[in-house]
Assembly symmetry: C2
Homo-oligomer: 603 residues x 2
Amino acid sequence: MPTIIFEPTGRRVEVEAGANLLELCRQHGVPIESLCGGNGACGKCAVQVIDGDVPITNEQRVHFSDEQLAGGWRLACQTRVEHDVRVTVPVPASALAGRIMTSGEAPAVELKPAVRKHLVKLDPATPNDPTSDADRIRLRIPDGARLRFRPSALRKLPEALQLGKDAVTATVWKDTILDVEAGDTFLGNYGIAFDVGTSTVAALLVDLNTGHELGVAAGLNPQRRYGEDVISRIAYCREHADGAERLARVIAGLLSDLAAQVTVGRDLRHVGEYVAVGNTTMAHLVAGVDPSSLGELPYAPVFTAPQTMLDGPKGARLGHKPLEIPDALGGFVGSDVLTAAVALGLHTKPGKRLFLDIGTNAEIVAGGRDRMLAASAAAGPAFEGAKIECGMIGSAGAIDSCRVENDDLVFGVIGNVAPAGLCGSGLVDTVATLLDLGVINDSGRLLPPDECPKTVPAKVRDRLHEADGMTRITLAGDVYLSQRDIRELQNAKAAIAAGVEILLRHLGIAPDDLDEVLIAGAFGSTLDPLSAQRIGVIPRVALNKVRALGNTALQGAKAYLLSTDFRQEVSAVADHIDLRDLSAEPDFMDRFAAHMPFGAIAR
Amino acid sequence: MPTIIFEPTGRRVEVEAGANLLELCRQHGVPIESLCGGNGACGKCAVQVIDGDVPITNEQRVHFSDEQLAGGWRLACQTRVEHDVRVTVPVPASALAGRIMTSGEAPAVELKPAVRKHLVKLDPATPNDPTSDADRIRLRIPDGARLRFRPSALRKLPEALQLGKDAVTATVWKDTILDVEAGDTFLGNYGIAFDVGTSTVAALLVDLNTGHELGVAAGLNPQRRYGEDVISRIAYCREHADGAERLARVIAGLLSDLAAQVTVGRDLRHVGEYVAVGNTTMAHLVAGVDPSSLGELPYAPVFTAPQTMLDGPKGARLGHKPLEIPDALGGFVGSDVLTAAVALGLHTKPGKRLFLDIGTNAEIVAGGRDRMLAASAAAGPAFEGAKIECGMIGSAGAIDSCRVENDDLVFGVIGNVAPAGLCGSGLVDTVATLLDLGVINDSGRLLPPDECPKTVPAKVRDRLHEADGMTRITLAGDVYLSQRDIRELQNAKAAIAAGVEILLRHLGIAPDDLDEVLIAGAFGSTLDPLSAQRIGVIPRVALNKVRALGNTALQGAKAYLLSTDFRQEVSAVADHIDLRDLSAEPDFMDRFAAHMPFGAIAR
């Protein structure tokens, strides 16, 4: 029987030879889109075969270019699995919805993209008029005198004019004519926003004519094999002469793959610009810059100013279009946090706010119009499900919530499939539930069955058992939570809570003075605010002041993509925010220790 | 006995095995530089071995990098020829002097290059200061806030700071930091000006800190194997799908070779910018743009506005530095003529001028401050020595002048070597001399010995003989001038003279009203003004008004390299000059026919 491995989860199943791949996905709970009922019409069920052979039929040719077919792209509904295969099934927008800030939270930026398309119809040239074709096009574009052709666009111009019978569509980016295409391609004007996280990378396709979101794709950061967190990847760069180059290459590869995924059924050549936000180490590696200096005193980044890579990152397959990296605040607070803070209007809205972006590190921004502080807390990756024994990223199969029902624990699972692990929000929810039940005590100890309070239901008590001399609790199937996992979470939440306490103290803000607490992060689905307060990662303000936003970085990158005014605002806010180094705060370790128990309350 | 082929002339000689290459060059009249007497000290006698094997000795390693050695570079004085070899011997500046506008003619531009170097010494970074290394460098450069790092410079920054112990030299080009180097490299700041002619290409190395000329190199345009003139090369592009790409590749290769030649002994990485001028077809091909539209009605160029190629032409080995192509006037009057006209001050000086640039085509610019006209005359390549039976370009071995001495013809030969052919200026001088003697009559007929006037000296008469039913005259050795050659020259000069006549008429200028007649061109050495008048290619104004300038294009390109103000001036003058199409002039053919005889005088 052939074996299928589904990426990005790595799930492996044995199947009947000749089975239909779309049906197999549904049968095994792998989220996949399809609108036409599997008759090859809609093209939504595109998957990428990474290993194994799937023949190219005529049905496949309808939807894919030769290049895409050679790259393994197939319609799942038209594919029969005869041999072992490994396929990437793009995560559908619907399954990712929880991870993306909803449209209600999206910033209201005025549509003013850096990329505009112009359809130009030239009159036939007349002899005696020495005006070049390039100039005749520039003159037909509003304010076109300032424009310059990029050499590659100029090279395409003669053929485009010929094929288009004197009608061409020019793609203008800032002061440059980036591209010319034969005929009218005005409607194909896309941008892609990347959120380059340490663990996961997401891509959002945006229509630059309308501002509409057209699709998302996400994947695991393949740099993980060089180290789980930024510190270990910086160490890798310091220890290997070609380390930074290697890490840059793999991230360029993933960005290219995600761009191909998110544009399937559209033309990648119609993507006019890319924006990549991320922590400062990721931004360095996207730019191909060695981040080693971030690993030693004085921890100075090589750059924080916005960067433009005219042809995209080295080795990337992004159609040689510009990629922009927005401003970072410093070595440990990057463009992901800054653009999100600006998109959320922290610097313009009245009132005082706390914004937490919890990823592999946690970044904190606090304050308001008058004064804003930011810091990074070395929380570790527990909130992303990493370093947790059954941890996983928040994709299909991850437990992302927990509640008590009929005297037992009941779990929510992303994609409504069999549970495969525990993501960050599931971890927080489960620990909060167990704290409420008394199965975990305030010091963080997971109690053995005989020490549990009498009030703990038998079904929950029965889940507890000992392994390796420590207590564990079985959640579902093979998925469990261990004492060690709880200690990881305590470390993480104490670092964040101590950082929050110190920043608010510098600003002279008491937790109750906060008008809003905003939590963002790629922890699976949105964090439950009550659970977050229960474990003590955020201050105990009135619950209606807490908003869990999911992945704000992607929305920040989207705003950057949509508006050149927003870009200027980001640079201005970068100068306005005062970055603090928590490790230089004399009482940080003391406050960190104080926040370790679950009963702790900020002073 | 081993055979040596000397490039670019293609001269072939047999030599003793083991002979010293520097001595062989001198022995066979191949111009070569050497200052140290051949002991390997000065590095001036660098040659490039193209075919054949010359072992790499330790003496060679002193002067060349591994890459240069792999590319065939050797010191001639340290090389013994044991086997067959083909070598390029860079033409020394002294041998090219006649072809380069002398310094007295060089435009007085204020030194204001686009490339500046800045030595920056950073204070050690302090913890708690989140300022990035890139920003700390920008802040140390005057007006540095506007600067942006090019991604490749950013990538080099960490290592440069480490190697340079916090001292780096930044190369600033316009608003971009192009490069950073460890330590102080302020003095290495070069630019290269290219004159890309249809037949020959020249490169001039300029010190951008001082404006001084540091060296020249020249080579034959390898596109010649795809057609002698621009028309046949455009036809090649029209007939072959990859024609333009192929022609672009070979010119990119030659520019790279010339840049390597002209920087031997220096560091190519210290070249911060390139400027390439040329006719519009050559400019298209340097930019990699298909010039096919120049070959059919309405003969519109793809571009005439200035172009910047940030990484240099595709496939070129120019260190990924920017190459600028200045404005062209139109499809048949290019940046070579325009920049030269501006460098000569035609648009600023009082008075009325005629400027002729005679290459494979001839371009004419006439007028003054108030009004200027330009046109191109399809003269053909006779003035460059092409389509002449014993014709050659103006390099070593070319007859470049002719006079009567002791009742016989006496010839000047470039490089004072045995004559190998006839270049453009030699052709004009020889025909003028034979016209004065009466050996050629006014209709252009080369008379057989028995029809010559009695006054023709016997020694000259004895040179005349019949071949293929037509008369020929032997000049020196195997080099002769044929009746067909004279007809080619008549065609060429008639086209130019008709064009000049028509432009002057449009301007309402009589030849005698001209304050100056300026002649430029790569016709060997400078054209003798009297001979030029004698054959009727220029109007018969007072001789003191005629100036022969040699290659003005290279000086125009140099001015462009040295001054960003000059660049703006060039664009402004491009708008000021009115380009005329001679083929659309109703009486062009009539005037062309009228100028065919040598006795013709402009009406």
